[in-house]
Amino acid sequence: MKKDTRINWVLTILLVIGTITVFFPLYMAFIIAFKKSSEMTNDVAGALAFPAHWSLDNFRQAMVVTDFWHSLGNSLLITLATIGLAILIHSVAGYAIGRNMAKRKSFRIIYLYIVSGMFVPFSILMMPLVKQTAQMGLGNRLGVILLYLVFYMPMNILLYTGYLKNIPVVLEEAAGIDGANTWRTYWKIIFPMMSPMHATVAVLTALGTWNDVMTPLVIMAGTGENTLPLAQLNFQTQFGTNYNLAFASYILSLIPILIFYIVCQKQILSGVANGAVKG
């Protein structure tokens, strides 16, 4: 039997039209960000028509009002540090657990203990954590990074131990005979072999931490530091009714993650699919 390979054009057209649901809100935000306040009339055209002049004034002003570069720096610092540390710490922890789980009850219990943390909602930890981090002098960016490392540990350990099952123990035993110790064997042989999983972990951790509002909101309150989403929240009152300024600021805060998505789209989509399937 010949396989049907005709392209379904009706469906293609429907799906192309459907992308309006994705693009329309973004188009609106983009257009308003370029307009002057005086161009905003009360009808639909006032908001959706092209601006008379494409001017970057709103963006310049929004950058000043929300201290954009500083907030962006904080977001980058927190996200990159979390990803880097997660890949190093969670992978080696996943290795120690994964290689011993089958033989030893103690490691099986440790595995279940950490992975069950996935069901703990932030709400139950929030109030005690605010007190605790303040007492420990961690009510700041470092505290947020440490908390993310803990919050993403259950998922990442699950992913790493799952992936480790595909890597035969023989490799390490061969290295062991050659005289390399466990620590060195791990970094020389196993760590590089887990790169596909590092990518998945990086993507999932990045998407989760970059857009998170609640953790920095309660932990970093009072430090005067903002992440990008936090800046939107904290400067919301300063935008007042100047929607053009507000939208310029929203667009600015969306641009970094959109660039990241466009550049790494393939890895992100496969990362999300992988993560969900293994998890």
Partner: protein
């Protein structure tokens, strides 16, 4: 006791610091939260143990009741909508279409954008654009902002939540559909099954594991809704869209209800675990192997 080999020492040297970190910032605050839930702590000053008082009060507190009602209504409607829509999207995006990878890429965009800023953008859409459209077309019910209506504001929040969640679940369903081998469909065609039978009798049973994942994921995320509430309604109007997470944050952090909201958080935790376990066991039984 056996003597530890150097290999074992390395393993423990790795795992002990990790366990300490996890305990300090996950288990310890959870235990503290549990203890606080038996006190009348306001977040500052002195406090006393009040036994099960907070738990008893929870069940008679109108505002807490209202937040549970909103959150469940939102999560239930959201889970159904998200899963039906994303399964349809996945079927579309997995069939023989042009621009397949571009379209998949575009439909995932809502998920990479932050809930807070998306909420602000939709808030403008609901408050100004849609009423203006209603005015232009003379449609009465569109002329008032959905977010200003005590009865319907939750639907506004739901639209935004679903818009973002569908993106995520579609990708997972696509990878589920890709696990169904082509020869299964070929056998279907030979048997003369039509598209509907094929979908309900063949495709659907084979992707049940992915339905489980998606149901658990979407329910959990929708139950914990916070960012969208923060930017769309701040719980209003008249507390009609106050989610449990939002109420715990608002009254626990600023409202002097540290102890009381800790009890609320404990119940919330139990609810989430119970629902997740229920979904996994019920659907786990329906899984079929090829």
């Amino acid at each position: 006791m056996k003597k530890m080999t150097s290999r074992d020492k390395t393993y423990w040297a790795i795992i002990i610091p990790v366990l300490i970190l996890f305990f300090t910032f996950n288990t310890l605050p959870m235990i503290k939260g549990f203890i606080y839930s038996f006190t009348n702590y306001r977040g500052y000053g002195t406090y006393e143990y009040v036994g099960f008082r907070n738990y008893i009060d929870l069940f008679s507190d109108a505002r807490v009741g209202k937040s549970y009602l909103f959150t469940f209504k939102y999560a239930l409607a959201g889970t159904v909508l998200v899963n039906v829509l994303s399964l349809i999207m996945a079927l579309g995006l997995n069939s023989r279409i042009r621009f397949k990878s571009a379209l998949r890429g575009i439909y995932f965009i809502p998920n990479v954008l932050g809930g807070l800023v998306i909420g602000y953008i939709f808030s403008f859409l609901f408050t100004y654009i849609i009423p203006a459209v209603g005015e232009a077309l003379n449609i009465g019910w569109l002329q008032n902002s959905i977010l200003a209506s005590e009865k319907n504001a939750w639907i506004g929040v739901l639209i935004v939540g679903v818009w973002q969640a569908v993106a995520m679940n579609t990708i997972i369903y696509i990878s589920g559909l890709q696990t169904v081998p082509d020869d299964v469909y070929e056998a279907c065609m030979l048997d003369g099954a039509n598209k509907w039978t094929e979908f309900f009798k063949v495709t659907l049973p084979l992707v049940v594991p992915f339905i489980t994942i998606n149901l658990v994921l979407s329910t959990k995320n929708l139950l914990m809704v916070f960012d969208q509430i923060m930017s769309l309604t701040k719980g209003g109007p008249a507390q009609s869209t106050e989610s449990i997470s939002y109420l715990i944050y608002k009254n626990g952090m600023d409202g002097g209800q540290f102890g009381f909201q800790s009890a609320n958080a404990v119940i919330f935790f139990i609810v989430i675990v119970a629902i997740s376990i229920f979904q996994m066991t019920v659907l786990g039984k329906k899984e079929e192997q090829l």
